[in-house]
Amino acid sequence: MNTAQQKIGFRVALATLACVLVLVVLGPMFLPWEYQEIDWDNINQAPSIDHWFGTDASGRDVLTRTLVGGRISLIVALLATCVSFLIGVPWGAIAGLAGGRADQVMMRIVDGMYALPFVLIVILLVVLFGRNVYLLFVGLGAVSWLDISRIVRGQTLVVRNEQYILAANALGASQVWIVWKHVLPNIIGTAFVYATLTIPGVIIAESFISFLGLGIQEPQTSLGVLIADGTKEMHSSPWQLAFPAGFLVFTLLALNKVGDVLRDSITGNVEH
């Protein structure tokens, strides 16, 4: 793909993402239905003027529910990503700066955690905490910081050997000052990009867990819950599955594309 095409693709993805955000944040306000509101006259209705995405088995508006569910999924994903950022960046930076034994042990722990299916850990956490949504996303974040920490460690190793760090050391700057003033600003951009790349994975994980009935519970909803509900009714009313699933796919596509372009831009990998 040449650069012009790449640019267009990136802009389309960015625009899609912006649309998704505006829709899930503001959309439900402009819709005549509440996400829990039951329209007794229209149960399992196909898409119509009143209900653009149709209604579900309890007569609730699927469009409103998709937007509200999408909002919850995105909030969970963003908060989990924040948690993974807050764990991954210090972990990677400390490992990279400390070097030697400490570095080896810390990275071995990361390797060990890589070998675990994180949905397994999250399921254990769900058993532990009950169905607490907030703890769920903390748990999700707590198991998805591995990529960030590896990247941050790598970046720290590069930065550590730069001349300006040597200069700061020679001038007698304290370690804390060096980390805060010289190391962090240089690795934070990369860390943000990899945080962006974490989001789609977390959205998928949330949808899996909610789909299995272990995550978000009624009356709250998320894309995973909606897809699970839609799957039960798909033989008679496929729109209940199609719209939330389509919404999920579009969001993931846009996020993946934006993340890829951002990553390529920092690694200088224009041609890929």
Partner: protein, 311 residues
Amino acid sequence: MARFVFKRIAFMLITFWVVISVAFFLLRLAPGGPFDGDRRMPPEVEENLLKAYNLDDPLPIQYGRYVWNLVRFDLGPSLKHHDFTVNELIAAGLPVSLSVGALALVIALVLGIPIGCAAAFRHNSWLDNCLSSTTTFGLALPPIVTGPLFVLLFAVTLRWLPAGGMDAATSLILPSIALAIPHAAATAKLMRGSCIDTLRQNHVLTARSKGLNSLRLAIHHVLPSAMIPVLSFLGPAAATVIAGSLVIEEVFSLPGLGRYFVQGALNRDYTLVMGGVVVYAALILMLNFVVDTLYFRFDPRIRSQSQAQAT
């Protein structure tokens, strides 16, 4: 080599032990027990039940007993499926889960490697554009979306394949393809990137300038080194395949380990959940071990590095 393998085995065993211990204590810390039902049972009955399953001993003793039994491959009785041991449930579910998962990984590699290679060899052409777009799209298709879609399309509407259950080998086709799609896309993307990098290397340039044709070039000079990132992707991929299989088994009502595991988590069947953790962790660790060892065999850079360390 022996030294390397030995180190990896030790690392694998330690990781396994840590995982099992953390899971064991996490589960026991959880509020609510396996016998909390809607109806309160008389205290004597509950006491007897706890005693029957040895749940009334202090935790360290329970833990010691669990580890000792685990060493002898005894995962204990299921607390919810009466008259079944966890070993029996795993023996019933694991073959199904394993076939779906293994099939999905194979499909992912068989689709992903050629697609990635083709895109790399025709870098920046219309073919590359098509394949790369397909790949990007595939990455956004989790099994939670493709699973129900396949049921609706190929099972209900077209009636080509069974919608669920495990009656014949054909029951495995739809679930494994649904599970494979995002992994095939990830493999293709990885393969494309590493192929492009390899194609720029001097040894490939030399081979090309000597007039080697594309196919020989691909098989003898590009693939061996371009495959290395894909190889190391297999370990993490196995973990996500397992996560996906939990969903897929639900969608296709496959009687696999994933369903038992999720049910066990929902109704606090301690021993069954522990059994699931043991089996999944063991599977993934073993696969990672195999991948690491292959990596060591096939990547001369790592081999020489660790030899330098040894001396």
